[in-house]
Each structure stands twice: as structure tokens, then as C-alpha cells.
Amino acid sequence: MHRRGVGAGAIAKKKLAEAKYKERGTVLAEDQLAQHPLTGEMACRNQLKMMSKQLDMFKTNLEEFASKHKQEIRKNPEFRVQFQDMCATIGVDPLASGKGFWSEMLGVGDFYYELGVQIIEVCLALKHRNGGLITLEELHQQVLKGRGKFAQDVSQDDLIRAIKKLKALGTGFGIIPVGGTYLIQSVPAELNMDHTVVLQLAEKNGYVTVSEIKASLKWETERARQVLEHLLKEGLAWLDLQAPGEAHYWLPALFTDLYSQEITAEEAREALP
């Protein structure tokens, strides 16, 4: 038999716990509300029992919720965002496991995990061109193309969430804010603050020069050169020695202008004089 906590405090606590359980329609046996003899707090084992019961109830409620709103979550990206933000504020990650309730009942998991696969494939396919760095816009367009006409539409926010999950697979995936958007890194290249800031500078024109870096960031020549050399080495930048004036360092990842006007071979032929 468990020792009951004595004193007014313990009694009040017990009454509160009972009231709570009555409210939920669950009546716990007396000994389940037993307290720890020294601290007066509920014993761990009993808390575990309580959690088990709450879990069952939660599962039932979530099933009901799902039957009404599952479609919505699948189709409405705004709802997905709000929902996930709410989960985050209380410390719950609905995407942590495919075996979680959220995944199993609301189906949020499969949507994002599949997106993860598609993102990896797109990045792999374009790596030879951009060294493993791609704008969120281009990634979005490519993923949409790959998904085909009959698949669910995805938003950029969806992509970001999927990428954040992919980070668990080891170094490689990174999200770098530039201008008003993001660059997605898909290879484990070491990019520190200096590199990132130069990428952000390059976003305007798709390329950057040593003088531009010195003028905007007020760096010494040597610092600018080192950063640019590193980007070249990692295959993220291309050197253009034939540019007017000084050498231009181009970032293929930022060639979105070129990409967005992607034309077919016939269109290209027709466009020529």
C-alpha cells in the first residue's frame, strides 16, 4: 500500500488531480494518485500510467480531427504552416518520425519525406552545374517539374521544412539566406560567414569581383581573394578572366535569370537571326 502524502498541500494537490480526471471522464484508482513519500510529488511510475491514458485519449481525439481535416492538411499549405508552427511552440515535432501519430493519422509525414527524396534527386542532378548550391526558386521549379501534373502542389515553405529534416542524414544540407530568398547547399562544403556574405553580395548580378567586395564589405584584398578562391575550389564559382575590367567570379547557382527563360532547342534556333 502506498503512503499518502500528508498536509494541506498534498490534499489540495490530490483534489486537483481528481477533479482534472473527472473532467476527462477518466477515474483513476486511489493508489494511482499516490505521491512520492519524500517530495509529495506524484511518483514517476504513476505519471507514466497517467501519460499512457492521456495518450490513448489524445489518439482518439486526433483520429476525429484527422477524419475532418486530413484533406485540408494535404491540400492547404497555409494550414500546414500554421499547424506546424503551433506544434513547434509547444515542443512537438510532427515530422520527427513516420511512426508518430501525426504522421500515421494526419499523413503529414509521407508528404514531406517524399519531398525530401525529390529534393535530394534534383540537387544530385544539378550538382555538376552549380557545385551543390541552388536557389530555392530554382529548386522549387525543378521539383515541381519532377512531380508532374497530377501530383500535389508544394510551396517553398514545404521545401524548407523538408530540407531541415534532411539535415539529420549527416552534413550536406544547409540553408543560406541571401537577398530576399535562400540558397540551398547540398554538398558538405565548408562555408563560413565570410563565404556566405560574399554569396549574398553576388546575388544581385550573379557574379562578384574583388573590387566590389572591397567597396561593399570594406575588406582587404587578401581576405576577398581567399574567399573567392575557396568558392572556386569547391566548384561553387566559375572564373571569368575575359570579363571587361577585372576578373568576374560567377555563381552558377544564381543563374536563375537564365533558367527562368529556359527555352527549347527549336525556340533557340528560331531566335537566331
Binding site: 513516420g98 509525414g109 510551396s155
Partner: protein, 375 residues
Amino acid sequence: MDRFVWTSGLLEINETLVIQQRGVRIYDGEEKIKFDAGTLLLSTHRLIWRDQKNHECCMAILLSQIVFIEEQAAGIGKSAKIVVHLHPAPPNKEPGPFQSSKNSYIKLSFKEHGQIEFYRRLSEEMTQRRWENMPVSQSLQTNRGPQPGRIRAVGIVGIERKLEEKRKETDKNISEAKEMVELSKSIANKIKDKQGDITEDETIRFKSYLLSMGIANPVTRETYGSGTQYHMQLAKQLAGILQVPLEERGGIMSLTEVYCLVNRARGMELLSPEDLVNACKMLEALKLPLRLRVFDSGVMVIELQSHKEEEMVASALETVSEKGSLTSEEFAKLVGMSVLLAKERLLLAEKMGHLCRDDSVEGLRFYPNLFMTQS
């Protein structure tokens, strides 16, 4: 459809491009018209549509002519659409594709997706109304239309009510979840403080509760990390699934490759990245024929137990010596493995002292370490 005017499609000074999307078809009200495949551009001032086949066919409407917009979800065989309700055309409007139209709305059909982002950006522009602050040339400064006094169609009120309902239900779920998070924190602390009080079984049960709820697990045991029964089963499954693919790929695969392979094979009930990692962490402890390995760079791979990367290094040295020197890309091509893993092997060889690096702007190149062999 009579609100559109012909345009060159060039942006004015002070007019900025916000977003564009290919594969958009225009409907006049509910009717399909000949403008069935174009690129739709949203600027701070206008909505521009350019025919994909004939770039000279380009038209636009001012954003100030839009009363409000609605989304129309995709259906079977139907693309998602944005419905754009418009003010009447001003009398002095420039020429456009249609002189008159009985409809006061158009529909934009996104045949190649992209509707979500486009709608979001268009809504933003409609809210911010940047065209009012950024004057452009006279030709774009036609009427501002009657001040949009939130003309709401009945549909919107109904939708808002439903949203409110949904919000309430979601809140209820979330607050239940929140209680459980608090409870689990309390339990976890107790487990940490008095490790001996709770049985192994009870701890495992607790961890599975956390997994179901998506609550991060602060309790790790040395043997199984943060894994649960589920992850143990998964680990055994993976050992079965990955045996052959690993053998085909020289005994080693990066975790991203494994993630894609396994999920593509599953089709549904996919694994989250964390599920995969947690399962792989248990491979060695469960004495399965595969193991998880983390390189210094942070790259994670799965290897067959029988795979000895250190032995592969010896053959890598031979290959590099034959060619004089090799970069990761060249080595990868020769041996037929991914560049990522090729690089790791060369780095390991360097770490073991067999190779030397030549790090220059032209890339990272490896040479046999003559300091070792030729004294």
C-alpha cells in the same frame, strides 16, 4: 477579358518583377480562350501574360484593377486556378485582345503548378499596393478604380467561419499535446535523476510515447541511443533490404542514398530522416551485418561489416600511383563510385599517410605520399 492591354512585356523603371510561372492558361470568366499556354509574370504594378509560342503576343492588366482574388483547388483532370475579379475597364483604355467582354472576372489556370507561391505573392502585392508608392510612366498610370472597399463575395464569409472552427479544434488538440509535453518533461527529469527507479521496460515504453507524440527524447541509453522498439525492428528490416544494394555498390553507401533507396522502395509509410538515423545507430549493437559510420567531415555512411574501408585505401593508393595523381572526381569516375564517397576514401588515405594533397584553385588533387615511401 476586356481589361487586358497589349504590352511589350518590358518592365518600367521602378517596376520590379516579383514572381513568374510557366504553363498558365487564361479563361474569360468560365470560357476557355485561345490564350492557353503562357508565362505569367507578376510585377509590383501589373500582371503580365506572354504566349510561350509567340513571344510577341504579350498582354497585361494593372494590379490596381483587381478587386479581389480567390483560389480554386485542383481537381481530377483540372489544374489549380486563381480567380481574379476585376473593376470595369476605364473608357480611355489602350487596345487589347478583347474589345468587350460580358465577364468581370478571369481565371488563371496553372497547368504546370506553381499556383501556391503565385497566389501568395499576388496576395502580398495586393496588400502592400507598392504601385501606389512607386510612380511609373504615364502609360501605366491609368485609372485606380473605385477605392477597393473590401467587396466580399458570400463565399469568403463562409470560408472564414470554417477556418475559425478549424482553428478552435486545432487549438484543442494542441493544448492536449502541450499537457503531455509538460508531463513527459517531468517524467524525463525523474528518470535522469533516479536512474534505478524505473525499469528498462518502462523506459522503453516511455520512449515510444515520445516517438508517437513527436517529442524530442532527452533520455539516451548507451546501448541503443534514442532508439525504440520500432527502430530496432527497422534496423533488422534495413539489414535485409540493404544487403544486395550495398554489395552492388562496393560495400558502402551514403545515408542520403540509403534514404532515397528505402523510401522509393516503400512507396508509402515512408521513413523520416530521423527514423533512418536512429535505426542505423542500432545496427552494430544488434550485431547485424551492416554498420553506421560517421566520417570526420560529418558525412554518414552505411557499410557492410565485411567492408574494410582501410583495405580499400590500399587499392586506392595503387590507383592513384598508376595515374600519378587524381582528384576526387577523376577517382570517382575510374572506380565507379559517387564523388562524395570517393573524396572520403582519398581523405582517409591521406589521414593514414598514404597520400598527399595539392590544394589549389584548380581543385584538390591527391598524390602518393613520397615522403613515406622514398626516404
